[in-house]
Symmetry: C2
Subunit: 276 residues, 2 copies
């Protein structure tokens, strides 16, 4: 099989990365995708960098064994901790995470250089966004806050209403209800779950703050990477499924919650249970 | 070493079971305990019964290899799904979970037989509490609700305040703000995280509802089991540590969050990192 007609591998600890998959599919409708959610071991966001790296390498191996032509790490925590290890193991494989595209977009869009990042505990404490933004823009002042409860809210589907509003305010008020001069003008949604809460997050920070959703920026960056490598699919293989969904646990829960993130219905029978 | 002087094994997917460990230690101050939190794979509450059973067996094996004289499954999800498999593998080992003692206490305390249970998705969908209560009390009408967000609230330490109050009300109002005749008079905290939220839960259901905390009932039942088996420790071994804490990931996070559940300070250096 010609390399360019092989599928693109996408992975996340669970269903959050389906928001990235949806953006990738919208950007590149002629491509085929294999998505793997490591639902047996989710979440990654509260685990140590060493453990996340070990899991991410196993997932990368499983996707490479399925013949992917490129790999998108659609999980902020795994992107922040595990890209070097994956690159070392699979040196020839075009590889992209969600942190660099998000940092790129935030650096470009911020006027003041004051940028806030929200993510999981592991993403924030690892400092990958902070480093990636400052590397592009030395004048940036980056504040990062772990918003662990927002992950649970998105999974529970509580994306509107008083609990979502108050939880978002509790995390974000200390950052944004500050004097104008020190207030960030840009907020990076550094977790694939957070676009689900975009509306309450937008209300909490106000309309003057630019919100960077790394799903969209990653889809754009992936398209550029494939173009650069000459790996864009030349034509659609009508016989192959456009989206192939794999999970390491409970296909029923993957389908039920994943549908919200993908933005279209998933049946449990659409999801293949695999062991990695 | 005499059997009765060996430690009691206690395990949970993470730190929640430390509330059970605290109750066990208070009930039996002369015993030694080894606690294992499977933090590399937590939470169990959103995973399939098969996956939880596989993990629980590995954890039980690890504790048996460390010479425990009895095993307390201090995790509602693992208790609800995995006791038969553990019993089959380790037939000689005195074994207790948190579901049966909780069901026993609720059956005894309820006047009307209307009993509500809150737990994780896996605990509720498996129906173990429902079956255990009805087995003891055929007239019981059991309503079970999965309250996944309360787990995240307890871990985040948001146990008071508007977010905790509103989340608890969102889950419990449909059950308790109903006509008197159909209202439960007893609520089982069917997750080891929920005693942390006891105050807001009590406010949500009102003072006339009895709250059953399975940590306390499990400690009592464990004491009875050891007494029956002649396994109560005869004297304290001053040379051995009373509480030995093991985790499969990130000892720093275990210590930080676990301190709240155990009710006393834990340093990261008190926690041993192991692989199972």
């Amino acid at each position: 099989m010609q390399t360019s007609s092989r599928p693109i591998g996408v992975f996340d600890s669970g269903v959050g990365g389906l928001s990235v998959l949806a953006a990738l599919h919208a950007q590149m409708p002629h491509e085929q995708f294999i998505y793997l959610g490591d639902t047996a071991r989710l979440p990654y966001g509260t685990k140590s960098a060493q453990t996340v790296e070990r899991y991410a390498l196993q997932i990368a191996d499983a996707l490479v064994a399925r013949g992917v032509k490129a790999l998108v790490v659609a999980c902020n925590t795994a992107s922040a901790t595990s890209l070097p290890a994956i690159r070392q193991r699979h040196a020839q494989l075009p590889l992209i995470g969600v942190v660099e595209p998000g940092a790129q977009a935030a650096s470009a869009v911020s006027r003041s250089g004051r940028i806030a990042v929200i993510g999981t505990e592991a993403t924030v404490s690892g400092g990958a966004y902070q480093r990636a933004i400052v590397a592009r823009r030395a004048d940036a002042i980056v504040t990062a806050v772990a918003c662990q409860l927002l992950v649970a809210l998105a999974e529970e589907g509580w994306t509107e209403g008083v609990v979502a509003r108050e939880a978002t305010l509790t995390y974000l008020s200390p950052l944004f209800h500050t004097p104008q001069a020190s207030r960030p003008d840009t907020l990076v949604l550094g977790c694939t779950h957070f676009p689900m809460l975009r509306s309450v997050i937008g209300q909490a920070v106000g309309p003057q703050v630019e919100i960077v959703d790394s799903a969209l920026t990653t889809a754009h960056a992936t398209h550029q990477m494939l173009q650069r490598e000459g790996l864009l699919s030349q034509q659609t293989d009508a016989a192959a499924p456009t989206l192939r969904l794999l999970a390491t646990d409970s296909t029923a829960r993957f389908a039920a919650i994943g549908s919200r993130f993908l933005g279209r219905a998933i049946a449990a029978s659409d999801v293949e249970l695999i062991d990695v």
